[in-house]
């Protein structure tokens, strides 16, 4: 009986140790992630005005979408569509890249939803964000 108690204590210790290990930081400093980050950072200079005008909003799935095409002058509409498409491509790549960099490709969906929440929470006042299917202005 005594041996079994010792064994259980050992298991608990091992579990706690592994838990601490699991709580360590995620790896986000790889060349792939940095390249995507830089591309998104450069694009943000152009996108910021469209977030502010309400033309583009942050979706609940960690992407962005053309929300109100009417807020964009006709001449610019195609350019904005291209910006949105490129940004979404980068975002998809970013989520996949983070999951892969940490050796858990299956985490991609959870990383995406974590990002979705944080993008929306950190959005500036006046920007449009999607929550439970409908758009709301922050």
């Amino acid at each position: 009986m005594n041996a079994m108690i010792k064994f259980l204590v050992a298991i608990v210790t091992l579990t706690v140790a592994l838990n601490v290990f699991a709580a360590a930081d995620l790896e986000v400093n790889t060349p792939g992630i940095n390249a995507i980050k830089q591309s998104m950072q450069a694009r943000h200079a152009q996108l910021a005005a469209h977030y502010a005008s309400g033309a583009v909003g942050l979706t609940a799935d960690g992407m962005i979408a053309l929300r109100d095409a009417g807020a964009v002058p006709l001449a610019q509409r195609q350019a904005v569509n291209a910006l949105v498409a490129a940004e979404n491509q980068d975002r998809n790549a970013l989520y996949a890249e983070i999951a892969n960099a940490n050796g858990h490709p299956e985490w991609q969906a959870e990383i995406r939803s974590t990002f979705a929440q944080r993008w929306i929470q950190r959005a500036q006042p006046g920007w449009w964000v999607q929550s439970s299917g409908s758009w709301a202005r922050k």
Binding site: M4, F7, L8, I11, L14, T15, L18, N19, A22, A23, A24, D25, L26, V28, I33, K37, M40, Q41, H44, L94, I98, H104, E106, W107, E110, I111, T114, F115, Q117, R118, W119, Q121, R122
Partner: protein, 55 residues
């Protein structure tokens, strides 16, 4: 002889627990990583992101 199987069963359980913990998604770490990347992409720095103060 039957007693031999008890530790073996526990060992199997412990091993499965290890695997479970290892594939558990680290939500807090992911949130931290997301904030770090969002800061850099949006150039928001750490001055006053308001939502971030969870002390």
């Amino acid at each position: 002889m039957n007693r031999v199987w008890i530790p073996i069963a526990f060992a199997a359980f412990a091993l499965s627990a290890c695997v479970t913990i290892n594939i558990y998604f680290p939500a807090a770490a992911a949130e931290k990583a997301a904030d770090k990347i969002i800061d850099e992409v949006w150039q928001t720095q750490q001055d006053k992101p308001a939502a971030k103060e969870e002390k």
